[in-house]
Subunit: 196 residues, 2 copies
Amino acid sequence: MTASPGGGAQPERSHTDPLTLASRSPQRRAILEQLGIPFVAVAPRVEESRGGAPRTLVCENALRKARAVDAARVLGVDTAVTLDGRVFGKPHDQAEARGFLAALSGRTHEVWSGIALVEGPAERVEASVTSVTFRRLTESDLDAYLATEEWRERAGGYAIQGRGAALVERIEGDYLNVVGLPVAELVRMAPDLFGG
Amino acid sequence: MTASPGGGAQPERSHTDPLTLASRSPQRRAILEQLGIPFVAVAPRVEESRGGAPRTLVCENALRKARAVDAARVLGVDTAVTLDGRVFGKPHDQAEARGFLAALSGRTHEVWSGIALVEGPAERVEASVTSVTFRRLTESDLDAYLATEEWRERAGGYAIQGRGAALVERIEGDYLNVVGLPVAELVRMAPDLFGG
């Protein structure tokens, strides 16, 4: 993560290069703010892959996002919610959101993230997975939650950092991975961001 | 949780009674706000118990706090951090906070909460426990985290909802229990608060 060994045309990278977050997600920005990490956010223009196993998919998309932004140190993240081999994206409308939540009710699903750090020619990508168990939701629970409008723009149709917390019985793994950024992986990839 | 069956001197309780949080904790207030639950907060004047097993201790203290506030529907919560039978309270100074964090480094500790709901003569209390695994912390990690001052007023000396998130490898259980309020238990005790 220091200078490139050849000393050629590639400019030197140093830990003082600011972090660029290749994302338009307010949740990811909020997490970096919570952690006190200085960054700038740039929305990547990228065609996302849709096929493959969750781990492969989120790693590929995280890399595509990070590569799509031209900066010295770029962080790309992609998240997918899966249950029984089905990938739950962002619901298109309230009816689809209700279907997602009903499918997740009383079950344990997985939230996968790919996280890519691209510093010039140096690219790293890792995956993180957290298990999330929903309580059994009644029709009344679904009505109340859908009325919050939180399902919009959220993979799986819920926001664990909002009122969606009341849908969750327990988790196993990295909580912030479910919110949108696998912080434990980020610490391993870039300990200098955390004073380590 | 509706009217008392005798119809006697006890005033009727209804779900429209506002919730009173017997706590001065800003984290507990923030969680109820996140969940969209209307409440008022009142600091309880209570002598806390210090002995006994974690489950017993946090349930007793949660009840004491809830009983100490005179209102129709009172929520009391108490939290303890434990490892190897040792209870970690709030550190008195930075040196003690460093000792706590060094003891938790690379290990899995437990965060216990007692949660008590007192509605006139009706009292319920439940316990919740979440396992939290810290990554191995270097001296430099400790220095950086202690400099944030987050250890103040936090059982165990860290704030998972703040920069302390970067100390955590994974959790098992209810995340908000670690922040300060076992929400999954609250849903079971008072589903009406969540539209259920």
